[in-house]
Amino acid sequence: MKTLRLVSLAVAVAMLLLASMPAAADFALQGSFEKDKSIKLFFGMPVDESWANNKANYTVYDKPDPDIIMPVESIALDPKRTTATLTFKEPLNQKSEYVVQVKDLTSEGKVVGSGTFSVKKSQATVLLGIIIAAMLINNFVFTKYLGLCIFFGVSQKKETAVGMGITFTLVMILSAVMCWALYSFVLQPLNLGFLKIIVFIGTVSIFVQAVDTILRKINPFLFKRLGVYLVLIVTNCIILAVPLLNADSNAGPFESAGLGIGAGVGFAIALFLMACVREKLEVSRVPATFAGLPIAFIVAGLFALAFLGFSGLM
């Protein structure tokens, strides 16, 4: 479910950012993924309806195996006749590259020519998709409920919330990358995948201890405020969840870092928002039985409802 969401978000971003594809000589021909079963073609000129709706004019295959032609199920031409959406029977693998061949493109009754181009997503698009998904749509605090302990513990003052958010983001990115390196260079080659829980928690603990020591020297003021919670980062589930998720999805180094950035920034945003509300709660009259945590939970619930709205970003 999660990967599906990630992928479909990435596709939405791809629509905006798609790098220009190699086009045929005398007419602009481009394509991009749309939904999980469709490819959208841009002809750059109005084409004839009868030509566009003929399935025999399109040949689409996965680049690694050119022998397997993807069967086109339906074709939808837009009213301006410049773009068409090909829908396939099988879902497409958005991570691979597809080659689309268009035969005898016909415009206003004349055959313009044939063209071949490939459809794939660029690395930057995928990364941006991962970051935004982890940050807003699948915000770790409000939709996956990770890191709640720290979230409720540190969100009493804006100042500490910001400090914690920044520290956490940095620790998160670096430990995500370190865990990725350990997993793909040590654990996987040795077939020790089942040790990943122990190895990841160890790596994170050591790294947090290192940050603790460094921060103590560099910024004693921030350390005085965050020292207690810095140690608590180890018990923050997010910091362990991100490497585990990366390991499960076989993410590369940049994708690992991307998920780390998204998770860290998402957590920082959640902390800051919550701190703003809780500062107001301090001076408002809350029923005695709701004071403290119960009301904080209900506020978090309202935030979670609001964050549901981001799922429309897809």
Binding site: C149, A241, F297
Partner: protein, 206 residues
């Protein structure tokens, strides 16, 4: 009352990990969309808590106090790895939904805090009962939240259709878990206020 029974009772209500100590909140919101999931994760936590408590109680004189935290983390991680390998075999379908959280038991504050506060100081038998009590308290909390959310959100209980309609869809959405826990906490505060006449202080939230 027998001390061991008291330790069990203590974990169930007076120091319930979720509602009173406010520890390990993440899973209590995340996996409680149904009773089944709550039960599964709860059982995993009981297992890890009991075995870690016992392990620490046995080896407490050998663990140097300076490195006790890493040692505890490793002990917990060991038992989590064990349960993480057992569960997919026993019940693959439910495991799929709670997989991430079973792995994350390592980071649950409740387990390490019981090791630090109890098992590192007490002998084997009380540690066992403390671990069992805390584990069952956690299981109870998860099942209670799961039952409320499943009944009000999906109209079912443990997969059986009870109501035949869905009164409050919001309860099985992410936000519902927060609301349910908030109201249960407030409810427990209210009961305690009626019984003792004073408002209890808020939990630690770590």
């Amino acid at each position: 009352m027998n001390r061991n029974v008291q330790l069990l009772w203590n974990g169930l209500i007076p120091e319930n990990p979720i509602f009173r100590l406010a520890l390990s909140l993440c899973p209590s919101v995340a996996v409680t969309t149904s009773v089944k999931n709550g039960l599964m994760l709860g059982l995993a936590v009981v297992f890890v808590q009991v075995f870690s408590s016992c392990t620490v109680a046995i080896f407490r004189s050998y663990i140097n106090p300076r490195i006790r935290i890493p040692a505890y983390v490793l002990i917990i991680a060991l038992w989590v790895s064990v349960i993480d390998m057992i569960l997919p075999v026993v019940s693959p379908a439910i495991y799929k939904e709670v997989a991430l959280f079973v792995k994350l038991i390592v980071a649950f504050a409740i387990i390490i805090s019981r090791l630090e506060l109890f098992a590192s100081k007490e002998p084997f038998v009380p540690s066992f009962f403390d671990g069992l009590g805390m584990g069952i308290g956690f299981l109870f909390g998860l099942c209670l939240i799961g039952a409320i959310r499943e009944l009000s959100g999906a109209g079912t209980l443990y997969g059986f259709d009870i109501l035949g309609f869905r009164p409050l869809m919001v309860m099985i959405l992410p936000a519902g878990g927060f609301f349910v826990i908030g109201f249960i906490m407030a409810g427990m505060n209210y009961i305690e206020y009626k019984l003792t006449g004073k408002v209890p202080s808020a939990g630690g939230a770590h």
